[in-house]
């Protein structure tokens, strides 16, 4: 079940450098939402920008929903300018949730930058199902790290060493596994820039680790009617999978990751 509804903004705020959250309520959405799903939101009623923007659901609490986003372009700038009470035109929840079942003991949630978005809800869901949860979150520097004390077992890494490990996030995963945990039965869940997903995929392939990824790509409809969001498949009888409808969450082994267009050109 998915809904199209106009909700009222509860708040917006900047929680790290150029990292913003926006909060609103929808009991219908939170009731059916599952980890890794996203919402498709119209910035405002103007035709410029025209299309909805996809956002992973970052936090839920009862009927409260929080999204987290960077301000880059037209859409996100409009979200950041919203005030309490402003209307927000929301469609969702959309997409196939993360696969939570399977033979593993610990979920390692790997996020680069705004890839943190789906992790809190995923972590809670894994925890409730009895899995151990570790978060490994990387960013360029300390001010861009989203520090959230509700995050389970967080490990941080920054490119400039200003917080946590002085490394990229894939090296941080390696470091974590090699220290004490190399024999754990793990599943990795990753979300972040395509370059990070590429190198994490290689790392996991080398070690034969189970990796699920959550993709981002340009979308028009978000519901499978435009065919605008294809990614090539390695297996299966279709050449392409539609990220909005069959994804955004995949087993990395199903995908030809190189077919993801480089972000923003």
């Amino acid at each position: 079940m998915m809904y199209l509804e106009t909700v009222a903004v509860d708040y917006t705020k900047e929680v790290a450098e150029n990292v913003w959250v926006i909060g609103f309520r929808s009991a219908r959405i939170t009731e059916v939402l599952r980890p890794g799903q996203f919402l498709n939101i119209k910035p405002d009623s103007s035709y410029d920008p025209l299309l909805r923007r996809a956002y992973s659901v970052h936090r839920v609490d009862g009927d409260k929903i929080e999204l987290i986003y960077n301000v880059h372009g037209k859409g996100s700038a409009i979200f950041a300018a919203k005030r309490p009470g402003d209307p927000l035109d929301v469609m969702g929840p959309l997409g196939v949730p993360f696969r939570l079942d399977g033979k593993f003991k610990k979920g390692i949630l790997v996020s680069g930058g705004l890839g943190i978005a789906p992790m809190p809800i995923l972590g809670e869901a894994l925890h409730q199902r009895g899995y151990d949860v570790v978060n490994i979150h990387g960013a360029r520097n300390a001010s861009m790290i989203v520090q959230d004390d509700r995050l389970r077992n967080p490990h941080y890494a920054t490119d400039d060493g200003s917080l946590g490990l002085h490394s990229n996030v894939v090296q941080a995963v390696e470091h974590y596994l090699d220290r004490d945990h190399s024999n754990d039965s793990v599943r990795l869940f990753a979300c972040g820039p395509n370059k990070m997903l590429d190198s994490l995929t290689e790392f996991c392939a080398n070690r034969d680790l189970d990796l699920k990824v959550s993709l981002e790509c340009q979308m028009a409809c978000g519901i499978g009617i435009c065919q605008g969001c294809p990614v090539e498949m390695k297996r299966g009888n279709r050449k392409y999978t539609l990220v909005c409808m069959h994804g955004p969450n995949y087993d990395v082994g199903d995908l030809v990751l190189e077919s993801l267009p480089t972000e923003h050109g």
């Binding site: 340009q218 519901i223 499978g224 009617i225």
Partner: protein
């Protein structure tokens, strides 16, 4: 006041004039639960080809001011899967189905149409001529008037069902194309398919979509689409299906008033998949407000008589 939004073309009666445009509503089956397909005038399917097509590689879409570019590449399940899986499901949801056909040769168009003729539940056909014409060197049919004429003649000979030809706007004189369609027996022309557009990233200096240029649609194109409908209205007397940038009932009314008998909603469905029924309701509300009881009073009722300002200015 009893208001009728019914409109009949050939032997198909559309319960209202609002259809979904090809390629923007899948096969009419993917839409969310809150969209009632039976409230639409009709569903035009994604372009169906002889064989299944994967479509173009990513990136396929880009947003532009009040519009978007696409190069989907006619990704579709092919006529067999369409007829065996999609059509029966569509019939169950009680939709008037127009099958949009894409092909690269007249034989291929004819093949797909004839396969469809074997099945029940199809209201008619819309022929997408914006595909490369393999026989004549890859240039699109849609910009070659004799090819469109021949294709229309061939298809007309093969079906008693509603036959609409979907014209491309990327020509000097769309009226000439509409004219040959009428002459060869088409029941209607669909105006218009997408305009050619492109966009690039200035940092990487690369095209935003993989095929470099693509189809341009959305609210931005409405004024041009309306001008094309106006041109075609002057050129032919068969019904016109107006398409291009329609998002609201007001937009749809513009096309009807200029001379379209039906309209199709495309890109707007990506923002609200339920836009079709909403627009149909808005048309009824307008008719009520203006004391108009039947669509025929509205269609082509554009008032181009001289405005006082023109008379004052000495125009006669």
């Amino acid at each position: 006041m009893s208001i009728s939004t019914e409109i009949t073309i050939r032997n198909v009666t559309f319960k209202n004039p609002v259809l979904t445009a090809s390629g923007t509503f899948g096969y009419g089956l993917e839409s969310p639960d809150y969209v009632d397909v039976s409230q639409l005038g009709g569903v035009v399917t994604k372009s169906i080809s002889r064989k299944p097509r994967d479509g173009n590689p990513p990136q396929r879409i880009a947003e532009t001011p009040a519009g978007m570019l696409n190069s989907i590449g006619l990704a579709n399940v092919g006529v067999d899967v369409f007829l065996n899986e999609k059509l029966p499901a569509l019939r169950k949801v009680n939709a008037t189905v127009i099958v949009n056909i894409a092909a690269s040769s007249i034989e291929e168009y004819a093949y797909v149409l004839e396969r469809c003729e074997e099945h029940e539940g199809i209201g008619g056909y819309e022929i997408n001529v914006s595909c490369p014409n393999v026989k004549d060197g890859g240039l699109s049919f849609g910009t070659n008037c004799p090819a469109v004429a021949e294709m229309t003649r061939e298809l007309r000979g093969r079906t008693e069902k509603l036959l609409a030809i979907k014209l491309t706007p990327n020509v000097t004189s769309i009226g000439e194309f509409a004219h040959v369609c009428e002459a060869e027996g088409a029941d209607a022309v669909s105006c218009i398919n997408t305009f050619v557009g492109m966009d690039i990233f200035v940092d990487s200096r690369r095209p935003k979509i993989a095929t470099i240029t693509g189809g341009f649609s959305g609210p931005a194109i409405l004024p041009m689409a309306l001008a094309k409908v106006y041109e075609v209205r002057k050129a032919v007397s068969i019904p016109i299906i107006g398409i291009g940038g329609i998002t609201t009932a007001e937009d749809a009314l513009k096309f009807l008033i200029v001379g379209a008998s039906l309209v199709q909603v495309g890109t707007a469905l990506f923002i609200d998949p339920g836009a079709g029924p909403t627009i149909a309701e808005g048309i009824v509300a307008y008719m009520e407000r203006n004391g108009i009881t039947s669509l025929t009073e509205l269609i082509g009722s554009l008032d181009t008589s001289l405005q006082p300002s023109l008379i004052a200015a000495g125009w006669e």
